[in-house]
Symmetry: C2
Subunit: 464 residues, 2 copies
C-alpha cells in the first residue's frame, strides 16, 4: 500500500500533495506502467484522508495521462516515456539595473520630463471611467475605437488641413507596431528604402521584419530621388516634414518628384512618417505628401509618443482607400492592439480641446528653450567652435563643431567627462566623420548646459 | 500686384489665407518659376494687412519650397515640378455597420458579458492613478513593467507551480502581437507547425507573418508526433492544456514524446499556448511543458483576454534563458507595446488577490453553466440526437450530432432559423464532415437555449 506524509503546502489542498507524491513515484519508476493503484477507499483509510481526496488526486493523474481508469477494475499507471524533470531550482532575484545617468545627456535620454498636463489627463481618465462604465473593457473595431478615429480625423483637419475619413485610419500600439503591420500589408518580398542618415530604429524594425532595406543618401532637399531610382526600391519610408537627425524640411519640388517616382510604377508606395509634425515652431506645418497624392500611393503615419508620452503607445496610420480595402481583407482579423480605455481617454483628450491647448504650450516651451539654448551656445566658449544648423522644428538641432578630433574620439572624450553625445555619423549606415553633434533638448536641464558647453569647448580645442 | 480677398477661415490667421492664395497661384501656374514676389511692405499695403502677415506667409512658402529668398533682392517663385493636387472632396460620413445579432450565437460571439468585477478593477485603476502619479505615463523596461512581471511570476507559481523568474517574462499587446514577435525571435525562414483542427487565428497570423506553416493532424492524445516528424517542421505551436476546439488535454506520455522530438535536433522549439488554462473546472491545471523542459526548448504563452477582457490586450510569454538573451540582442530595441498604466493596474489587480478571487468565481460560474447546459441538452428533444464530448475545461464543449445533413447544410439551415453555429470542420485546414458542433457557452444566454435546442433537433431530424 502506498504511504505518504501529506502536507498542506502553501494553503493548497491535501489532494494536491497526494497527487504530487504519486506523480513523483511514477516519474521515478517506483510505480511502473501497468501497476494497479490501490482502491480509493483503501488508500483513503491507509492515509487517514477522505475518499474524495484520493478520488480528486486520481482524477488529476488520469487527466494528465499518468494513469487511466479501467471500468469495474481500477486505476492503472500508464507508460509515460522518458522521465521529465518536474522540479526546478529556486529563482534568483531579478537583478537591479543601476540607472546609467550621465551628467548631461544630449542624445535624447533622461533629464527633465516632457511637459504634460497630467492633471487634465487624469481628469479625462476619471470622466471616461464614469461615463463609459463597462464599455472601457469591451473590444472595439479592429481599426480602433470610432471615437478616437473621429477625433484624429478632426485634429488632422484642424491642424494640418488634411481630410482623412475616420474609416481610413488604423490605430496601433505605437509606431513600431504599425511599421510591422505595414510591412505585412505592402508585402515582405518588396524592396524597402529608408533615409541615410536616419532614425536607427527604422532600420532595426525593417531588419527584424526580414525585408530588404536600402539606405538612400540625402542632399540638401532631403532624400535623393535619383539614388532612390537606382536602388530598385518599391517602397520608401521618409520623414519629409522634419527629417531626423538633419532637420531637413523637404521642399515642394522634391515632394512632387517623389510622387512622380511612385506614380511611374504600379505598387510603389511612400510611407510618410510624420513623427513630430506637431512641434513645428513657426508657421503652419508643411502640407503632407498624403494630401498631395492623387493616386493612392501615400500612407501617412503619426504618433502621440512625442507629444503626450512615449509610454502611451498609441500611433495611427492613414491609408488610401485601396490599401484600406486590402488591409481589411488580409489583416482585418487582427484585433486592435491598444486597450479600449486608453483609446477613449485619448479621444476625449483631443475632442475636448485639451490636446490642442497642450500642443500650443509645448511648442512655446520648446521655442523658448531652443532660443535660450542658442543664447547659451553663443555666450559659451563653444560658440567660437561651432555653427548651429536647424529648421525651426522638433526638439533638436545640429551643432557643427570645429575640432581636430573625430566623432568617435569626441564621443569617448565626452563620455569620460560625464556627457552623453551623438553625432550625425551615429545615424549613418556607413559612418563617416561629420563633426555634427545632435543636440536634443526636449528633456534637457538648461541649468547644466553651460558647464557641458565648456567641457565640449575644451574637447574641441583638444584639451582632455 | 497680387490682390486677394483674405478671409479668416475657421479661426485661422490671415497669413494662412494669404499663403494659400499664393500657393494656389504657384500650383496653377499663374505665378511662374523665377517670378519675383512683391516686397512685403508693398503687398501688405496693397492688401491692407500688417507686414508681419505677409512676412509669415512668405516664410511658410519658403519653408515648403514654393519660394526662396535671395539676399538683398527679394523672394522668388521656385520651380515645383508637376502640379500636385491640394484639395480633396468632402468626407463621406463613416457608414454605420448594423450589428448582425443572431437569435443565439453558439459560435462564441455576442450574448452575455463575461463576468468581471468591474468595480474592483475601477477601484484598482483609481488607486494606481493616486499612488503612481506621473509614473503611469513613463516608459518601462522593454519586457514590461517589473511590477507586472513579478505579479505574473508569483501567479504562475501559486496557480500552476511554475517557477519563472520575472526577467524571463515579456509582456505584449495581446497574443497576436506576441506570436509575431516570436516569429521574429525564432526565425522567419523556419518551418512552423500548428494543430489541425485548430484555432483559425493561429493560421492567419503565421500566414500574415509569411512563414511556412504545416498543419498536423491530431489523434486522441492530441497532436501526432509521428506526423510532426514527417512534416519537417522546426517549431510547433500547440495548446496541450486544452486544445481548441476538440478539448483534448495532452497526456503526459505525448508531452514527453513531444519534448524528445524537440531535443532530437538543435533549434527545435515548442510554443506552448496556454490560452485558457485558468479555466479548468476540476483538479489543478495540468503542469505545462514549460515546467517539464530541461533543455530550454519550450516557450510558454498565456493571455488575460480570456479571463479579464479581450479589449485589455495584455498577454505574456515566458522564455528559456538562451532565448531571452537572443531576444535582448535582436529585438530588445522594441518598446513594450502595452501602456504603462494598464500594466500597473493589472499588476495590482493580481498582487492584491482580486484576480485569484475573480478566477475562482469565474470557474464556478462556468462550471454551473456547463452543468445546467448539459441538463438542458439532456432534457431537450436534441438529447436523443447527440452526445456531449468535453474535458472539463474552458468554456466550450462539442455536441456530436446524429443527422443526415452535412455540417454545411446544418450551418445554413440553422442560420435560416436565427442560430449561428460552427462545426469541428470549420477549424480544419481541409474541412471534412464531422457532425461535431462547437458549443461555446461563455457568453451564452441560458434562457434562450431550450428554443435553440428544439430548432437544432428539428434540423437533425431533417425538418426545415
Amino acid at each position: 500500500m502506498l504511504t505518504y506524509t501529506l502536507e498542506k503546502d502553501r494553503g493548497q489542498s491535501l489532494y494536491i500533495s497526494l497527487y504530487r507524491h504519486i506523480r513523483a513515484d511514477i516519474a521515478s519508476g517506483v510505480l511502473k506502467a501497468g501497476d494497479r493503484l490501490p482502491s480509493k477507499r483503501a488508500l483513503a483509510a491507509n492515509l487517514g484522508v477522505g475518499v474524495v481526496t484520493v478520488e480528486t488526486a486520481y482524477a488529476q493523474l488520469i487527466a494528465e495521462g499518468y494513469a487511466r481508469a479501467v471500468e469495474r477494475s481500477g486505476v492503472y499507471v500508464c507508460a509515460i516515456g522518458d522521465t521529465a524533470r518536474l522540479t526546478v531550482a529556486p529563482l534568483p532575484p531579478e537583478p537591479e539595473t543601476p540607472p546609467q545617468t550621465p551628467l548631461l545627456d544630449l542624445s535624447g535620454g533622461g533629464g527633465e520630463d516632457v511637459p504634460f498636463p497630467f492633471s487634465v489627463w487624469v481628469k479625462t481618465m476619471r470622466t471616461v471611467m464614469a461615463e463609459q462604465g463597462q464599455q472601457i473593457l469591451r473590444p472595439v473595431d479592429f481599426r480602433g475605437a470610432p471615437e478616437l478615429r473621429r477625433a484624429i480625423s478632426d485634429h488632422l483637419y484642424e491642424s494640418r488641413g488634411m481630410r482623412v475619413p475616420s474609416e481610413r485610419i488604423i490605430v496601433g500600439a505605437g509606431n513600431e507596431h504599425l511599421y510591422g503591420l505595414m510591412v505585412g500589408l505592402l508585402g515582405r518580398q518588396r524592396i524597402y528604402a529608408a533615409e541615410d542618415p536616419g532614425y536607427r530604429k527604422i532600420t532595426e524594425i525593417y531588419n527584424a521584419n526580414d525585408v530588404t532595406l536600402r539606405h538612400i543618401p540625402l542632399d540638401d532637399a532631403g532624400l535623393s530621388v535619383r539614388e532612390l531610382k537606382k536602388s530598385g526600391a518599391d517602397i520608401v519610408h521618409i520623414s519629409p516634414a522634419h527629417h531626423y537627425p538633419t532637420g531637413i524640411v523637404m521642399p515642394i519640388r522634391r515632394r512632387n518628384e517623389l510622387l512622380q517616382w511612385a506614380y511611374a510604377q504600379p505598387e510603389r508606395y511612400i510611407l510618410e512618417d510624420d513623427y513630430d509634425s506637431e512641434l513645428r515652431h513657426s508657421g503652419t506645418p508643411v502640407p503632407p505628401l498624403f494630401s498631395m497624392d492623387s493616386r493612392e500611393r501615400v500612407l501617412y503615419l503619426s504618433t502621440f509618443s512625442q507629444t503626450i508620452a512615449p509610454s502611451l503607445r498609441i500611433a495611427y496610420v492613414c491609408l488610401p482607400g485601396t490599401l484600406m480595402e486590402r488591409f481589411c481583407d488580409t489583416l482585418g482579423f487582427y484585433a486592435c492592439a491598444v486597450p479600449t480605455f486608453e483609446q477613449y481617454t485619448l479621444a476625449r483628450f483631443i475632442s475636448s480641446g485639451a490636446y490642442e491647448k497642450h500642443l500650443n504650450r509645448l511648442r512655446k516651451r520648446y521655442r523658448d528653450k531652443r532660443e535660450r539654448l542658442m543664447e547659451l551656445v553663443a555666450e559659451s566658449p563653444l560658440g567660437k567652435h561651432c555653427r548651429i544648423l536647424e529648421a525651426g522644428a522638433g526638439t533638436h538641432f545640429l551643432l557643427q563643431l570645429r575640432s581636430k578630433l573625430s566623432d568617435a574620439e569626441l564621443r569617448e572624450a565626452a563620455k569620460g567627462r560625464g556627457l552623453s553625445v551623438r553625432f550625425l555619423s551615429d545615424y549613418q549606415s556607413v559612418p563617416t566623420d561629420s563633426g555634427s553633434m545632435i543636440f536634443n533638448y526636449a528633456c534637457l536641464d538648461l541649468d547644466r548646459v553651460p558647464a557641458a558647453l565648456e567641457i565640449l569647448a575644451e574637447l574641441c580645442r583638444g584639451e582632455k
